[in-house]
Symmetry: C2
Subunit: 110 residues, 2 copies
């Protein structure tokens, strides 16, 4: 998988609030699919599909031990997201600078 | 639009490589839709649809002056993405710490 494709998967994976909530649950430690599904008002199959999307993005790891599947968080793919957004940091700062200049100027005229 | 919904839109918008390339083009300054479309091997209609997705996410602003439409970048919604990912920073660091500990330990045994 090349870097662009994997960034596509990571961003698409985290664009869904249920999937972000699953990641948030896993920050408290590894859990089985049933535990992960518990707070959601949806079928286990639907939650499993969300988990698969997260696995494909490399954000969730699955450990099989017989019939027991344990899910854990792997936050490392998010570094790509940070790297991509950081290139835009100066643009939102510039925007704020322009706003500040505007209000400063307004303050100077009576 | 609430914050969660808008984060969904922003992440979905930037999950596509064409849309990221459009944002990248707009870092060089405002441009009309035709200019933005130029490097892509797709119809103007397809590019316009991508631009609309970026507008809905608040990442692109459109200024109308008669028939001329000028697009410009608004990077501010990306701050939400940074805020969201920053909560996971300690998890990828922990992962690296564990790896480092593992290799340090390996290095100590002959």
């Amino acid at each position: 998988m090349n870097i662009t494709a994997s960034l596509d998967y990571v961003l698409a994976a985290i664009s869904d609030p249920t999937r972000r909530a699953i990641l948030d649950r896993l920050t408290r430690g590894p859990a089985c699919v049933t535990d992960v599904a518990e707070p959601f008002d949806m079928s286990l199959a639907a939650v499993s599909k969300h988990v698969q999307t997260l696995e494909r993005a490399g954000l969730v790891r699955r450990q099989r031990k017989g019939r027991e599947h344990t899910l854990s968080l792997d936050a490392r793919p998010l570094r790509q997201v940070v790297r991509w957004t950081s290139r835009y940091e100066r643009f939102w700062n510039e925007h704020l600078d322009r706003l500040e200049a505007f209000f400063t100027q307004k303050g100077q005229t009576p």
